[in-house]
Amino acid sequence: MGKTLAEKVWDEHVVRRAEGEPDLLYIDLHLIHEVTSPQAFDGLRLAGRRVRRPDLTLATEDHNVPTLDLDKPIADPVSRTQVETLRKNAAEFGVRLHPLGDVEQGIVHVVGPQLGLTQPGMTIVCGDSHTSTHGAFGALAFGIGTSEVEHVLATQTLPQARPRTMAVTVNGSLPEGVTAKDLILTLISRTGTGGGQGYVVEYRGQAIRELSMEGRMTVCNMSIEWGAKAGMIAPDSTTFDYIEGKPEAPKGADWDAAVAHWQTLVTDGDATFDKEIVIDAAEVTPFVTWGTNPGQGVPLGSTVPSPDDFAEESDRVAAAKALEYMALTPGTPMRDIAVDTVFVGSCTNGRIEDLRLAAEVVKGRKVAEGTRLLVVPGSVRVRLQAEEEGLDKVFLEAGAEWRGAGCSMCLGMNPDQLAPGERSASTSNRNFEGRQGKGGRTHLVSVPVAAATAVAGHLASPADLD
């Protein structure tokens, strides 16, 4: 019987298989950052162990770093200590690090792909749940805990139980103005935050094939938000074109050999998945969240739901609690919700294509009074590329803030935070209570909706601005 893409990549990385034990998987690339690595390195030191393959390891600083005043020391002592500890550990163990100020610094999941280190068929791990982003290249990529980070540093392997497989097939084409973000938010609203639990998901079908690499990364990035272990998309010419010429991509004869292998990384016609979901792309519209988990979303043209709309008692309780936290009244049109802050950035939507989309919407317009727009490139390279294209000027002329690279307002770990009670439209991935700052209220949105919202001052799509 044939194999799925996930099974092919898995089987290519089994170092050891024994009855009744998890498979021992080889890890091709280990990405690390300042928050989940300190104790792993300290564990190595205590046990007198070394990093087995520093040449398959890459570190960058992203979660804690400020995006303003980059020439000043990090103000928060805990953040500063974590960043300084990463620098010390990288030097001691011989790991390549792109620190704040380096031209390759940025969010770990933006840096890997743009360096060409993320390639089809690889196993990639990182102490961060959004590692699933790299699955857009047909890699098997997933987040791990600190003990596992230590395990990979010491052995370049990880014991893993074989997951189940699921196919999400998106037939047809996404309508004009509808993005990968709308697609994944729509999917999560249907499956709930636990629908993917225990599965490696393969996204396939015409709408997925038609997505750019940036769009595919957005979809795979949010796999974890519906509980999937990883999300994958089979590599094709879009993938190969994106990788070719990147600094760490194979060159010459190596390139040909690599592409020949990558072309085999597709699910066989006679392979079966443990579960399948089918979506009609034509039904997907701009989608926004109203609640406090990524599954609590509705179309932008819809209204805030009532707890009574839900069949399950647990969903009714969760909805009531979320509405109270979000200070929303059932029946309110989503477009009537005014926001204080708009955040464009993160590992979900902080790549160059995202910034181009945002610039297209705000060009020649002004950010609404009483609203602020933060535009935070996912990496220094993205920032430089945007500046080369003049996007920074578009944002600044519109009254937006143009910032340095990092995780920024996606999570409340650095100075970029919402104040209590503040409301945001955010292109990031999580709308949990307090995620963007204590008491902050988050609506997850696509990039075009974020940009249009900044101009309108309330949730809006670009079409509303005309």
Binding site: V15, L29, P250
Partner: protein
């Protein structure tokens, strides 16, 4: 990780059930960057009370914790095990452990010995009557002994094997070093490297 075959020491009678990991070590201690030094966080809220059992001079130097049922519930933080070990505990005896805590303990080298509730009661009474009572936890024979008390404890075979041999997860994987090296020699030469 240090192997443990049999351990003898004095015991702390912790007359509480449902000791969750937030009580074992509060979240504020999780911001640290080290793997050791968490002893000051252990039961830190309870230790503010001078009458808390761990503050009593007669219990100085304890290495075995005897607690009520459902020890280690709540957050999955590995720091709970680290804090207990950093303080000097090698063994926790309880009639029931939370699954994640039990797993974390085995991985870090802390022996979680599950006994019948009556055994906990007997040990509490004995240690409270005489805090210097030596308690022996014998992993080879799966037995707790304290004076005239001899009682069996439960631990799964795999965790027992690992503790007896001092094998942590990494140690076990490194016993397959030959397989890892063989795999490495078969990888595609064009796979990317960072250095």
């Amino acid at each position: 990780m240090e192997a443990i075959k049999t351990h003898t020491g004095t015991a702390l009678p912790l007359r509480r059930s449902n000791v969750d990991t937030d009580q074992i070590i509060p979240a504020v201690y999780l911001k640290r960057v080290t793997r050791t030094g968490f002893e000051d966080g252990l039961f830190s809220a309870w230790r503010n009370d001078p009458d808390f059992v761990l503050n009593k001079p007669e219990h100085a130097g304890v290495s075995i914790l005897v607690a009520g049922p459902d020890f280690g519930t709540g957050s999955s933080r590995e720091h709970a095990v680290w804090a207990l070990m950093d303080y000097g505990f090698r063994v926790v005896i309880s009639s029931r452990f939370a699954d994640i805590f039990r797993g974390n303990a085995g991985k870090a080298g802390l022996l979680a010995a599950e006994v019948d509730p009556s055994v906990v009661e007997v040990l509490w009474a004995k240690v409270e009557a005489d805090p210097t009572t030596p308690v022996t936890v014998d992993l080879e024979s799966r037995e707790v002994r304290a004076g005239d008390v001899v009682a069996p404890f439960r631990i799964d075979d795999y965790t027992r094997y690992r503790l007896l041999n001092g094998l942590d997860d990494i140690g076990i994987t490194l016993t397959h070093d030959d397989a890892i090296t063989a795999y490495e020699s078969s990888r595609f030469p064009w796979k990317p490297v960072t250095l």
